[in-house]
Amino acid sequence: MLKGCDMKKKTLTLNLTEEEMQVLESLAQRKEVSKTAIIRLSLRLYQMIDYRLGKGQKVFVEDDVKQEKTELLLI
């Protein structure tokens, strides 16, 4: 399998509430990936949003059907 950059993996133990764990498990099941994959994807998305906000940009969510655009507020 092609490898990406030669990065050593580190282990993290997560403490989640029952609700958070349920969401994590549900997402993993629906997306057909492991819980670890969901956590990694979440981190990447958070970094992306943080990067945009850090540049003074805004992030919007758009509803095509209702033709509505709402700003994603991260406070």
Partner: protein
């Protein structure tokens, strides 16, 4: 940080096999080649061909893309080199969502940018210098998708000049995306990706 180099193979204009390398990161050398070889070559060729045949991506700036995308966890880059010269480059995002109806927005690797060196494009140079770069880069994207547990699923918006290439690779054509520059959106399902990497095998 060292990055993986995978030996790959191209065909030159005489049909001879040429050894090449697939790097799992666009490096300074690749950006240098874009700046000092790709761009000047392209600019010279643009003078020879009529405007309607000019590449739609002629204004792409890989340095600018690198500046914007490098360092983000979700982004990965690849380059193909042969004869110590960059032949192709690609940026992918690992936070894409499938647009295939009923796919539940499953995660995909989304190809943000992909380009072959201008001397490998028959409109700009005929015969082309090398063939095979595009499919090698797609193969890299599929293997990354498999590694990420996305089962090989990939997606992209093709510039219209590139639509025949993606039709030929076995992608599903999901139609023109009016939310994205009216570019045609393509995806490879798990089965299509498996077929792409193992052609001729009976895939269950």
């Amino acid at each position: 940080m060292t990055c993986a180099i995978t030996p790959v193979y191209l065909l030159n204009h005489s049909g001879e096999v040429k050894e090449a390398e697939l790097s799992a990161e666009i490096s300074i050398k690749h950006l240098e080649d874009w700046h000092l070889r790709w761009r000047p070559f392209m600019i010279e060729k643009l003078k020879e061909i009529p405007p309607e045949k000019h590449p739609q991506h002629q204004h792409w700036n890989w340095l600018k893309k690198h500046q914007a995308l490098d360092g983000q966890l979700s982004m990965r880059s690849y380059a193909v080199t042969s004869d110590n010269e960059t032949q192709g480059m690609m940026w992918v995002r690992t936070t894409g969502f499938s647009q295939i109806p009923g796919a539940n927005g499953k995660p995909i690797v989304y190809i943000e940018y992909i380009e072959s060196a201008p001397w490998n494009v028959c409109t700009l140079q005929n015969p082309v210098k090398y063939r095979g770069i595009g499919r090698i880069l797609l193969g890299a994207a599929i293997e990354l998708s498999q590694k990420e547990e996305f089962k090989g699923r990939i997606g992209l918006h093709a510039l219209s000049q590139a639509e025949p290439f993606y039709h030929g690779c076995g992608f599903s054509d999901l139609g023109v995306d009016h939310n994205y520059h009216n570019l045609r959106y393509y995806e490879m399902t798990e089965q299509q990706a498996r077929q792409f990497l193992t052609p001729g095998e009976t895939n269950v």
